[in-house]
C-alpha cells in the first residue's frame, strides 16, 4: 500500500465520524523505485491531505525530509518534488494494519493489499 493510497482511505465503520486518517501500524515496509514524473507529483500535491501525509510518514519513521506545511512555489523545487515522489509512491507498506482512529478497528494489510471489508454488523 502506497501512502498516496493511504491518503485517500478512510474508515467506514458504522457510526464513526472521524475515521481519517487511518493509523498505520507497519511490520514490513519496502521501497520500490518508480520512475519520477514531476508533472504528476506537482499536480497531485494540491489534492492531498498534506497533514495526513506527514503523519503517515511519521508513523513509518520517514518524515525527516518533509516540511510540516507546504512551501509556496513547490512546483519548481525539484528536490522537494523528488522527496514527495519518494514518500508518496515509492515507500510501500507490505505487511501491517490500518487502525480506525475512532473505533480502533484494525484493517489488515497483507502482501501490500489492505483489506477494508467489514463484516455484516459493523
Amino acid at each position: 500500500m502506497k501512502l498516496l493510497t493511504h491518503n485517500m482511505l478512510t474508515s467506514h465503520v458504522k457510526g464513526v465520524t472521524k475515521g481519517y486518517p487511518l493509523i498505520i501500524k507497519a511490520t514490513e515496509v519496502k521501497v520500490n523505485e518508480l520512475e519520477f514524473n514531476a508533472q504528476f507529483v506537482s499536480r497531485m500535491i494540491p489534492k492531498l491531505e498534506w497533514n495526513a501525509l506527514i503523519q503517515a510518514a511519521e508513523w513509518l519513521g520517514r518524515s525527516q525530509d518533509l516540511p510540516s506545511t507546504l512551501i509556496p512555489n513547490y512546483e519548481n523545487d525539484e528536490e522537494f518534488l523528488h522527496k514527495v515522489h519518494r514518500i508518496l509512491l515509492e515507500v510501500e507498506v507490505i505487511e501491517g494494519c490500518l487502525q480506525c482512529p475512532e473505533s480502533g478497528r484494525e484493517f489488515p494489510i497483507s502482501k501490500g493489499v489492505p483489506n477494508m471489508l467489514l463484516i455484516e454488523d459493523e
Binding site: 500500500m1 502506497k2 498516496l4 493510497t5 485517500m8 482511505l9 467506514h12 514524473n37 508533472q39 504528476f40 499536480r43 497531485m44 489534492k47 509512491l89 510501500e92 502482501k111 501490500g112 493489499v113 489492505p114 483489506n115 477494508m116 471489508l117 467489514l118
Partner: protein, 213 residues
C-alpha cells in the same frame, strides 16, 4: 474535477477461475480492448498522467493497460483470489454488491446527482455489444458517441436493445439454446459468413431426428 466511468463487466471468480481468466489470451484481449475504450470515454487531457480508480479491477488486466498508458491507478475488488496478482488494491464490499444491476446503478447515480448516460458500442450486434455507463460529477459532460452505430442512446435509457435476429428460447446469456432450430440456423449462417461450405437450407433443416440417428 472528478470524472467517473463505470464499465459493466462484472463477474466473480474463485481461485481456479481467476488463474484461467488471466491466462486466457482471448480474455486478455477483451479486457485490454474494454480498458482502452473506457479510457477513451474518459476523454482525459492528452499526455497527462492521471490518477484513476479501477472499481472491480480483478487481477489487474485492465490495470496493466492503465499503466501502459502512463497513468497511476488504484484498483478495488471484492475477490481476494484475483487480487493476489496485483499490488495496489483494496476491497470495498458495498460498492461492488450494489453494482450488479444496470437499472439500479443508473437510478442511484441520477439520485446522487451525477449527469450522464449510457453509451452503447455496437448496439446492433448481440455479441459485440458493450455497455458503458458514463457519469459526470462536477463537470457538464458531453456524452461520447457509441462505436459502430448511427443512432446512439443519449441520456438515460432503460429500454432494451432489440437485435435483428429473431430467436426463440433465448437463455440467460442471450444466446439460443444449444441444438435448437434457431441455434442451428445461426450456426449455418455463421459458417457461411466464414466462407465455409454449407448445405442449403431445406424443409428438413434442423428437423428433430430420432435417438438412433
Amino acid at each position: 474535477m472528478c470524472k467517473c466511468l463505470l464499465v459493466l463487466y462484472l463477474q466473480f471468480y474463485n481461485e481456479q477461475e481467476a488463474k484461467k481468466y488471466s491466462q486466457n489470451s482471448r480474455m486478455i484481449e477483451i479486457q485490454t480492448q474494454m480498458s482502452e475504450r473506457a479510457v477513451e470515454l474518459l476523454s482525459l487531457p492528452e499526455d497527462q498522467p492521471c490518477y484513476l480508480l479501477d472499481v472491480g479491477c480483478g487481477s489487474g488486466l485492465s490495470g496493466d493497460y492503465l499503466s501502459e498508458a502512463g497513468h497511476y491507478w488504484v484498483g478495488v475488488d471484492i475477490s481476494t483470489a484475483m487480487l493476489d496478482r496485483n499490488k495496489t488494491v483494496w476491497f470495498l464490499s458495498e460498492v461492488l454488491w450494489f453494482l450488479c444491476q444496470l437499472e439500479l446503478i443508473t437510478a442511484q447515480a441520477m439520485k446522487a446527482g451525477f449527469t450522464g448516460g449510457m453509451v452503447v458500442d455496437f448496439s446492433n450486434s448481440s455479441k459485440a455489444k458493450k455497455f458503458f455507463l458514463c457519469l459526470f460529477a462536477g463537470v457538464s459532460g458531453v456524452l461520447p458517441k457509441g462505436l459502430g452505430s448511427e443512432s446512439t442512446d443519449r441520456g438515460v435509457s432503460n429500454q432494451a436493445q432489440f437485435t435483428a435476429q429473431r430467436s426463440r428460447f433465448r437463455n440467460m446469456k442471450g444466446k439460443s439454446v444449444k441444438k435448437s432450430k434457431d441455434w442451428i440456423m445461426e450456426k449455418k449462417e455463421r459458417r457461411r459468413r466464414q466462407g465455409k461450405d454449407v448445405r442449403a437450407d431445406t424443409k428438413y433443416t434442423a428437423r428433430h431426428r430420432k435417438p438412433r440417428f
